[in-house]
Amino acid sequence: MKKVIMGNHALSWGAQLGRAQVIAAYPITPQTQVVELLSEMCASGALDAKFIKVESEHSAMAACIGASLAGARTFTATSAQGLTLMHELLHWASGGRNPVVMGNINRAMAPGWSIWTDQNDSLSQRDTGWIQFYCSSNQEVLDTVIQAFRVSEALLIPSMVILDAFALSHTYEVVDIPDQDKVDSYLPPFNPPLRLTPSDPHAFGGLTSPEHYFELRYKLQKDMEKVPALIEETGREYERMFGRYLGQVEDYRCEDADIILISSGTAGYTARVAVDELRQEGIKAGNLRIKVFRPFPFEKVRQILARAKKVAVVDRNISYGHHGIFFQEVKSALYGYDHNLPIFGFITGLGGRDVTPATFREIAHHALAEDKAAEDIIWVGVKR
């Protein structure tokens, strides 16, 4: 069934098709339509779930973790201030191996108050042990929620499905809504190996001495390392069943590219338009959109960049005192592999300033005009 829906509703549809059993959420602009539609889905019986309308994002995540521990499939959604309020609980979810799936609408952090997009909210949750998917279309949002339940529950690692404020959250697109039967056969019910129940009483998360703690974290990383292969496997299976491949990255016209733009989120879509325009100018450009940020797709990035002569990483975020965050990650992926590839780091579009095809063309021309980057951060569109 094809429907014209907004990005936020794509999250709700994903949660419904994924048969989330417990939802706990708190409203925040620009996420509100996610929970509004989910409330309606629960009220109408279309979704058989308990919806706990909590008093904060902090309690939202706490309730999801509690429900997940009981063996229920859980979903929530938030944005920016709400996500960062959850920060402590993000560690509880991953450390407790509770595979919560959460939508996050990328919104710039206050102060000053901003409701517009950039990625600093979710990227500052980088080290919390969550899988992070950055989506570029409403279809991808819906499909990824379903895949995220599958991957998260198989490895007991929580997932964040991320989309840009307004540029995607409030943008309407045609979305193919898969049949429930087919989704059910793709996504089996959640059946964790251990759950909290009085019939087999255990203490979860108790005081853990240096004798044991280290190994628990080692195991989390070892399972995180299994995520890339599982995303490939489940992404191919999704393609066979639904006709859409869900991978870690998306490369566009990179095969013969002299310059590869690296992007994420909706900017990743915009970059494709810029690539076509640059090609019309006679510039061999390509775009590598990074969809999965954690675990970082090292192998895919190395493979695709092996063919490039220059790389321009476009960040809609910043690590103060360092560089753009994707820029850091790409450099670390290439360290020891290719010392000669010139990599340029661009920062643009903070706080929702537009990132257009012209922005990407300007970035490509800048990188092509110089042998190597003169500065670690090349600011695009900033008023100085």
Binding site: I52, E55, I65, P198, P201, A203, G205
Partner: protein, 307 residues
């Protein structure tokens, strides 16, 4: 020499047990000597039985239960984040119901810091929604697990490591029971480990009520109060007799029932004298405390008698 009188034939007598003999809490736990919180758990579990799940935030009980992979309790425990006892319990209850377990009593088991202070938002949220959980606060009147720092449950006049003698706590204890009553929850009660039968009865009653239930249990901490471990039960009885911690129930925020009305209301002095945390107090301070206790007691009597 006197010859010994022949022994009278004795009738076999058995101790009358007012609480079930079955234990869900075992020895080997890490409670301090004279720990009131340990007794509170032991009595409550006797009332709730095996079909119980606990959410325990950071508090003495996160240590008392024992380190991973051990547990002193025969019921499952989720050791949750400090400020999330109520929300974690609400989520756990919803999750259990969705996987087909509608019977388990889900308990949030928190100290006074996790209840009066850092956890009050989540508690208020759950109570307003009337989430189907039993919230139990064992109150030892300070952050004892971290080493005796003041909480908003610390009484006026008390020394703690963050309210040194020269700057002892100069504000009264927060009235958490009035706050909970303002949420109009179906059942709430105060209880003391010095009155185990009353505590047992209330836990049992709370178990069978649907919606948010709140038990506030007075649980002395000799370590933090600079008192003798053998006086724990004594303190827990004295506070009821001197009306510092009256035992009562409230239904739907309106119907107050006073459970124990002392025949003769004792002054607070003796209770204070037995605890190092109050040793610095002068007559004037004790007078302030007595007046505060009297006012609260009168208020409670009015509420209970207005029924």
């Amino acid at each position: 020499m006197k010859s010994e009188a022949p022994l009278k034939e004795k009738k076999e007598k058995k101790m009358k047990l007012s609480l079930p003999a079955e234990e869900l809490m075992h020895s080997g736990n890490l409670a301090c000597q004279g720990c009131g919180a340990g007794l509170a758990m032991r009595y409550v579990l006797k009332a709730l039985g095996q079909k119980t799940a606990l959410c325990i935030p950071a508090c003495c009980w996160s240590v008392i239960d024992g380190p991973f992979p051990y547990s002193t309790l025969d019921v499952p425990i989720f050791h949750c984040a400090f400020e999330t006892a109520a929300a974690s319990a609400a989520g756990l209850k919803a999750g259990l119901e969705m996987v087909g377990d509608t019977e388990t009593t889900v308990v949030a088991w928190a100290g006074d810091g996790g209840t009066f202070d850092i956890g009050i938002q989540a508690l208020s949220g759950a109570a307003e929604r009337n989430d189907d959980i039993l919230y139990i606060c064992y109150d030892n009147e300070a952050y004892m697990n971290t080493g005796i720092q003041r909480s908003s449950a610390t009484p006026y006049g008390a020394w703690t490591t963050t309210t040194p003698v020269k700057h002892f706590k100069n504000r009264p204890k927060k009235d958490i029971d009035a706050i909970m009553a303002a949420h109009r929850i179906p059942y709430q009660a105060t209880a003391s480990i010095g009155y185990p039968e009353d505590l047992y009865k209330k836990a049992k009653k709370a178990k069978d009520v649907k919606g948010t239930r709140f038990l506030h249990i007075y649980a002395p901490c000799p370590t933090g109060w600079k008192a003798r471990p053998e006086d724990t039960v004594k303190f827990a009885r004295m506070v009821v007799q001197n009306c510092i911690f009256p035992l009562y129930e409230v239904e739907f925020g309106e119907k107050y029932t006073l459970n124990i009305k002392p025949r003769e209301k004792k002054p607070v002095d003796e209770y204070l004298r037995l605890q190092g945390r109050f040793h610095h107090l002068k007559e004037d301070h004790i007078k302030i405390m007595q007046e505060e206790v009297d006012r609260a007691w009168e208020r409670l009597l009015r509420r209970a008698e207005a029924q």
